[in-house]
């Protein structure tokens, strides 16, 4: 008699890809807007991006119910922070909070694969990339989600970051201009859409810089 396995899972994967790129004085965070389950599309117009603070924007793929719950928890925690400290949370602080929040549920994780992008206290772009239980690292660029295996090698090729193991630590932000980075993101999503069935419909691009926040959309293949 073989062991019975669960035929119900608390998780589902709603697919989708997320990308973030850090520049010298800007940060680009993007995610497609397709939400799927299995081989079906639930909606073509769902935002995976959430602005957690003035200078922190998070994009998350995975199980969107968990993503929504995670966004709400972080939002509430940010409000508490603002009441106590009378200011907005910085991006590195939010990065640590996200990590702690994820690890808090180490034994029933949020099925959420996150990239956090924003501006650090010096105004430079920063990107943090996470796994489902909160392990994180500051990087110059990252992608997560169903298309990440297609996107990441391309970003490595275009934005090759110095190794994080080098000493003295070298800056990971890309020398690209903001417009070039946005263009790169559009290219990357168009390519991922071709071969990843879970990525498509539209890409939502959020650009954070000293003047504030801006949103752009681009249509992608709908098949």
């Amino acid at each position: 008699m073989t062991k019975q396995h669960a035929n119900w899972s608390p998780y589902d994967n709603n697919g989708g890809s997320c990308v973030a790129i850090a520049g010298a004085d800007y940060c680009v965070i993007a995610a497609d807007t397709r939400m799927s389950t299995g081989y079906n599309i639930l909606t073509r117009d769902y935002s995976k991006i959430s602005q957690l603070a003035d200078k922190s924007v998070m994009a998350s793929s995975g199980f969107q119910a968990d993503v929504k719950a995670l966004q709400k928890v972080l939002s509430a925690r940010h409000l508490i922070y603002q009441h106590q400290h009378n200011k907005q949370m910085s991006c590195p602080a939010m990065a640590q909070l996200l990590s702690n929040t994820l690890y808090y549920k180490r034994f029933f994780p949020y099925y959420a694969f996150n990239v956090l992008g924003g501006l650090d206290s010096e105004g430079k772009g920063c990107v943090f990339t996470y796994d489902a239980v909160g392990s994180y690292e500051r990087v110059g660029y990252s992608s997560q989600g169903s298309g990440s295996t297609l996107i990441m090698p391309f970003l490595d090729n275009q934005l090759k970051s110095p190794s994080p193991l080098l000493l003295p630590a070298k800056d990971a932000v890309t020398p690209l201009s903001e417009a070039e980075a946005v263009d790169l993101v559009k290219t990357v999503f168009a390519s991922a859409t071709e071969r990843d069935i879970y990525t498509g419909d539209k890409v939502e691009i959020v650009i954070l810089n000293a003047s504030g926040i801006r949103r752009e959309y681009m249509d992608l293949r709908k098949d």
Binding site: K72, A76, L79, I80, H83
Partner: protein, 278 residues
């Protein structure tokens, strides 16, 4: 008030049916510096008198933002006030988390009142020594509530608490009929004048008072010092006891310093008509 043999703890009734500890707590509110609130159909304004202990120290914070649509001004034991504000903020955040909508003000004050009541019925607790003027906006309009240490709460058109609040209340009683239809600016002006009443002789300036506003399309926020000073100057609210020694200045001058004697209120070209001629 006085040594009574029934005032040792809050769970002892007096033969006259009073809880002295609760009444003593209300006294603590009267000792705090004044806090004033008034509301119109669309806005609520809170004002308070800021008294620093000495020239070297900073003012006590007496107005707290609880949420975008609710703020509170306190009088009495400010430490108790801070703790209650934290509770209110937490309740608003939790409600918003669950229902994705702002906590109606009426619900919040009931929760606050119930919290205060608990402290009047436990032998190991003491009542909160702070009165709260809760200003908020919700679907049913603009509201101003007063929460007592006793656990009672009342809704008001305008109210003042703390020391020398009676002077402010007298002014508000005379004018409150107009408040419902007041504009935001008029409401703030009335708040400043009421604050001046509480100061009773001292010069009204932005360093002694704090103003906060919440309204339709306007999240709760405390006005910064410069704005308040400009408003004071615009409304030409001056010390009421200043004798008209120098040339009276009839025209309202934005830049005129507030201590320029422009005579009693009647002489000044005060926009809304001068209220104060006792």
């Amino acid at each position: 008030m006085f040594r009574n043999q029934y005032d040792t703890d809050v769970t002892t009734w007096s033969p006259a049916g009073r809880l002295f500890q609760v009444e003593y707590a209300m006294e603590a509110v009267k000792q705090g510096s004044a806090a004033i609130g008034l509301r119109s159909k669309t806005h609520v304004v809170l004002a308070c008198v800021n008294k620093a202990n000495s020239e070297l120290s900073s003012h006590q914070k007496k107005i707290f933002k609880v949420d975008n649509h609710i703020g509170v001004a306190i009088a009495g034991l400010t430490a108790d006030g801070r703790v209650l504000s934290r509770y209110m903020r937490s309740e608003c955040i939790n409600y918003n988390y669950t229902y994705e909508s702002p906590l109606p003000v009426g619900r919040l004050v009931v929760q606050l009142a119930d919290k205060a009541q608990v402290c009047t019925q436990r032998s190991w607790k003491r009542p909160y020594g702070v009165g709260l003027l809760v200003a908020g906006l919700d679907e049913s309009g603009a509201h101003l509530y007063y929460n007592c240490p006793s656990g009672n709460y009342f809704e008001y058109q305008a109210f003042a608490i703390g020391s020398r609040s009676q002077a402010a209340k007298t002014y508000l009683e005379r004018r409150f009929d107009n408040f419902m239809g007041s504009s935001r600016e008029d409401l703030i002006k009335d708040a400043l004048i009421a604050t001046r009443e509480s100061l009773q002789g001292e010069k009204l300036s932005s360093s002694v008072c704090t103003i906060a506003v919440v309204g339709v399309g306007e999240p709760f926020h405390i006005l910064d010092q410069e704005t308040v000073q400009q408003l004071i100057n615009t409304f030409e609210i001056v010390r009421e006891e200043e004798p008209p020694a120098e040339e009276p200045q009839p025209a309202p001058e934005q830049d005129a310093p507030t201590d320029q004697a422009s005579g009693s209120g009647a002489a000044a070209g005060d926009q809304g008509g001068s209220p104060m001629e006792i």
